[in-house]
């Protein structure tokens, strides 16, 4: 455990600070530490990070004949997402403007110029906890990451 975290817990144990204050301080400490702290944590637990983003669409229970419907299984390496996103920063400005314009036309207000590598690492790290599971009579859609 880091020295600062120990100090905060000691202050809490000595009733110098309240539980709320301790929580706020620990959160601030975690935010300050950022990615390196979490990766160090991952290293100590020995848990490997996610490697793939999986998207699966399977027929739901409402289908009488399973054979009539489409099934989709896509597995994308997370490293490909990371390097693909980095590649977007190398696009010529006119191509980037075209992409941004096309996205805007579809109602997606997203500017690729705002995408920074440090944000990307944070997004990929957050994918660890991602699990989308939509089940209806028609389809079962699952989006998740796997090792």
């Amino acid at each position: 455990m880091a020295e600062n975290q120990k100090k905060i817990l000691e202050m809490l144990a000595n009733k110098k600070i309240s539980v709320d204050e301790a929580y706020r301080l620990l959160s601030a400490l975690k935010a300050e530490g950022g990615a390196p702290a979490s990766s160090a944590e991952a290293g100590t637990t020995g848990k490997p990070g996610p490697k793939y983003l999986r998207v699966s669409i399977q027929p739901g229970s409402g289908h009488e004949h399973d054979d009539d419907v489409d099934r989709v299984n896509v597995r994308v390496p997370l490293s490909l997402i990371r390097s693909g996103m980095k590649l977007t920063s190398l696009l010529p400005p006119e191509a980037r403007d075209k992409v941004t314009g096309a996205l805007h036309e579809k109602g997606i207000d997203f500017d690729m110029r705002n995408l920074k590598p440090e944000d990307l690492d944070e997004v990929i790290e957050a994918l660890n906890d991602l699990e989308v599971d939509i089940a209806s009579n028609k389809d079962v859609v699952k989006v998740f990451v796997e090792q």
Binding site: K51, V69, N73, V74, R75, S79, S83, L87
Partner: protein, 105 residues
């Protein structure tokens, strides 16, 4: 350790036709690299001529991006990074009659 893709497996199954193919990238990539090295003086001349005549802006974004990648070390590195990240990619779409399967190994 990261490695370049070795094989692409493509399977297209229709109602009557089957089209399975294995593309040996481990044989094609060295050939492509060799071709690129041989053509690089010509590409360099084309880039210089296009820049000098001011026609670079008239190129389509795809061609412009490709030329841009070829004339920058940073861009070559990024393109190789994408290539080396591809193993493990798998797309499988199927129904009763048809199937499209692409896997990069």
């Amino acid at each position: 350790m990261r490695r370049p893709p070795m094989l692409i497996q493509v399977q297209i199954h229709g109602q009557e036709k089957r089209f399975p193919i294995w593309v040996p990238l481990f044989l094609l990539l060295p050939l492509a690299l060799l071709l690129l090295i041989i053509l690089s003086p010509l590409i360099l001349v084309a880039i210089i001529v296009l820049r000098l005549t001011g026609r670079e802006g008239q190129l389509s974004p795809g061609v412009s991006t490709s030329l841009g990648i070829l004339c920058s070390v940073r861009r070559i590195k990024a393109a190789l990074d994408v290539l080396f990240s591809m193993p493990g990619l798998r797309v499988d779409v199927r129904n009763r009659n048809e199937r499209i399967y692409v896997s990069i190994i």
